[in-house]
């Protein structure tokens, strides 16, 4: 089965075993097993509706908000099952941060956007440390130089690319262990996309990063490992260079050569 490809790393940050997701009667994910480790950026690729975003959202239980969605199988974070009743979902989402497809800054100031997560989790005991967290996060998101003089301006007044980097800064500010990115560049122009990709390179190593993308060139550029999804199954998972140059599966080959998708 697929398990031999999925369990390639020895000490995974997150691992999924035989995960199935149902929307009512319809099965959206049909048994996916995968390991995600700290050192590699993992890209999920595949045609629209193949379930890659759905699977991504099971990793921090964002699917919980959909009443008809049901998840089976095991997903662990540091060996701990995130769907067990002992797991605090609020803390899980702090540890596994998320960046969404459409930039969605809060309609608050740039400062408050970044500070929000740190505030609600009580990460900064005083204003000076909170300022530090905000500055560090914005620096790491590559946005500091553009916004340092207008931190009190509304986050929604920034350009699309800046908004997305603000959202990444907001995710970083909570100091998560894993960052999930759901097609973070699909609403951005090529220059903004390049900046985000560069940013992903810099964040690698400190956070485990999973990125869903439509764009195969992007997957090739930013990731070290790639998983190809098709019709709710994970067809192939392996080193990005292998997937793009020497895929084992027929369907993967067809997809990356543009035969369908």
């Amino acid at each position: 089965m697929l398990d031999n490809t999925a369990t390639s790393s020895t000490n995974p940050k997150m691992s999924a075993r035989d995960v199935k997701v149902f929307y009512g009667d319809k099965q959206a994910i049909k048994g996916v097993s995968i390991d995600i480790d700290m050192d590699n950026v993992v890209a999920f690729i595949g045609p629209s509706g193949c379930g890659k975003s759905t699977f991504l959202r099971t990793l921090n239980r964002m699917n919980d908000t959909i009443p008809i969605a049901r998840v089976e199988g095991d997903i662990t974070l540091d060996g701990e099952n995130i769907y067990s009743s002992k797991m605090d979902v609020v803390q899980l989402r702090a540890r596994v941060g998320m960046v969404f497809q459409k930039p969605n800054p809060f309609p608050k100031s740039i400062y408050d956007n970044v500070a929000y997560g740190a505030r609600i989790h009580g990460l900064a005991p005083n204003k000076a440390e909170l300022d530090q967290i905000v500055e560090n996060s914005l620096v790491r998101a590559g946005l500091w130089n553009e916004v340092k003089d207008r931190l009190s301006d509304s986050g929604t007044a920034l350009s699309g690319g800046q908004q997305q980097r603000l959202c990444i800064a907001r995710a970083i500010a909570v100091d998560p262990e894993v960052i999930l990115m759901d097609e973070p560049c699909s609403a951005l122009d090529p220059i903004a996309t390049a900046k985000i990709e560069e940013l992903i390179h810099e964040l690698r190593g400190r956070y485990a990063i999973v990125i869903v993308t439509h764009n195969m060139q992007q997957a090739a550029r930013v990731s070290q490992k790639t998983a190809f999804f098709h019709l709710g199954t994970m067809v192939e998972y392996g080193d990005t260079s292998d997937i793009f140059t020497n895929p084992r599966e027929e369907r993967t080959r067809d997809y990356i050569t543009g035969r369908y998708g």
């Binding site: 921090n60 803390q91 989402r93 702090a94 941060g97 969404f100 969605n104 997560g117």
Partner: protein, 425 residues
């Protein structure tokens, strides 16, 4: 018709965009556009006309309600009270001195001396209290013969303002021969309460009753309505029970208000034995009526908050309560407030349910608390419009003006608050 070349592929005649038929269609479209514009303009003009008519009539009738007629009365206080020394008017003895003066008798004597045997009919039945109030305010009047302005009777008041009965006109002429008459702003109307003499009634009692009732309504209906809406939108699972609740709330919002009055009567007065005619019962009853409106408005406002904001907040690990209070409610507040304004405006103008719980009481003193007998502005208007005495006509219109001003003030405050919340976000 020009010959249309056939396109062989579809067998369809090629559209003649510049042809006569097309030009006609375009002209018809423009005509329809113009017609629609004029109809809309007509509708706006018609409603403006009605509004202007209402305002002109109300202000025309009501303005006189704010004016009262006063006549002079010369009172020789030293002669009537005997000699009162200045020491008796200093603090420790002042109260005893004032209590010893029989103002009622002095007033009667002074009126008889100046206006003849039954001159008292020129003055309001409570005019002597006005004299007493002036003495209390300025005790030194006791030391000299003075001329004071006192309110006239309702008949004289009407004769002074416009045509009245021949007898009243004759009285008015007599009065003007013996003393002076002036028209002055009727502070008593803004500070007094209900009464039997239209010249002496005031709106403050009803206004205060309305204020207290509205405060009770707002403090009950707003939090409960918003919390119910938040729960239904954010927490409740979708099943037949929540569907039933939703349908029930929508139905409640459409229930005629008098039914809420009966409910208030049965529940608050009969079951809980709360005091009749009290502002708290009125507030509770109106809160029942307003709550569904607030729930519906708040649910719609909460629904309109983009899901991306909820996801963003959850994505950084906000708990459901934090998502609601930090993000959803602040964004929904302008919409919630709009619904609240509509609900409160309806509650403020409500008469029928309050009649049911006894708030049509004749209350001559403003309510001092939640349980005092009280009436509210629309009920006061209703009561005055029912009065036989002609003098109440202008008071009714004046009360309507007060009600409208109250309503506009309330709405202006709410709109101001709403805009402030909107700019903050």
């Amino acid at each position: 018709m020009p010959a249309n070349p056939q396109t062989p592929a579809t067998g369809r005649t090629k559209t003649d965009w510049m042809g006569e038929a097309m030009q006609k269609r375009i002209a018809r479209r423009y005509a329809a556009e113009r017609r629609f514009k004029w109809m809309g303009l007509g509708a706006v003009a018609l409603s403006s006309l009605f509004l202007a008519f209402l305002l002109v009539v109300m202000v025309g009738n009501g303005a006189k309600g704010f004016i009262s007629t006063e006549a002079t009365l010369t009172v020789d206080l030293p002669a009537a009270t005997g000699s009162i020394s200045p020491e008796q008017l200093t603090q420790p003895r002042l109260a005893a001195t004032m209590a010893s003066i029989d103002v009622r008798r002095i007033f009667d004597n002074a009126v008889q001396a100046q206006y003849g045997e039954d001159g008292a009919r020129f003055f309001a039945s409570t005019a002597w209290t006005a004299l007493r109030d002036q003495l209390t305010e300025n005790p030194n009047l006791v030391m000299s013969k003075t001329k004071v302005w006192l309110p006239t009777s309702s008949d004289i008041d009407r004769a002074a303002k416009d045509n009245s009965t021949p007898e009243a006109e004759a009285d008015y002429a007599t009065l003007r021969k013996a003393g002076e008459v002036r028209q002055t702003f009727n502070w008593r109307f803004l500070t007094g309460s209900d009464g039997t003499d239209p010249a002496q009634v005031g709106i403050w009692g009803a206004l205060k009753g309305s204020l207290i009732t509205m405060v009770v309504t707002l403090f009950l209906a707003f939090p409960v309505g918003v919390l119910a809406a938040v729960y239904l939108e954010e927490y409740a699972s979708k099943n037949w029970l929540t569907d039933l609740i939703e349908v029930s709330i929508n139905n409640l919002a459409a229930v005629p208000s008098i039914i809420f009055g009966l409910l208030g009567l049965a529940v608050f007065l009969q079951f809980f034995s709360m005091p009749r005619s009290a502002a708290i019962v009125g507030g509770l009853t109106l809160a029942l009526m307003t709550m569904p409106v607030i729930v519906i408005a708040a649910r719609n406002a909460i629904k309109a908050v983009p899901p991306s904001i909820r996801e963003a907040a959850m994505g950084v690990g906000a708990s459901p309560v934090q998502v609601v209070f930090h993000h959803v409610l602040p964004l929904a507040i302008p919409g919630i407030m709009t619904g609240t304004i509509i609900g409160m405006a309806r509650a403020l103008g409500e008469t029928a349910p309050l009649l049911m719980i006894g708030m049509r009481a004749f209350t001559t003193t403003p309510p001092d608390g939640l349980t005092d007998p009280a009436t509210v502005l629309p009920v006061q208007i209703f009561l005055w419009s029912d009065e036989v005495n002609r003098g109440f006509v202008e008071k009714t219109s004046a009360a309507i003006i007060v009600l409208l001003v109250f309503l506009l003030t309330m709405n202006a405050i709410a709109v101001y608050l709403r805009n402030r919340f909107e700019t903050r976000w």
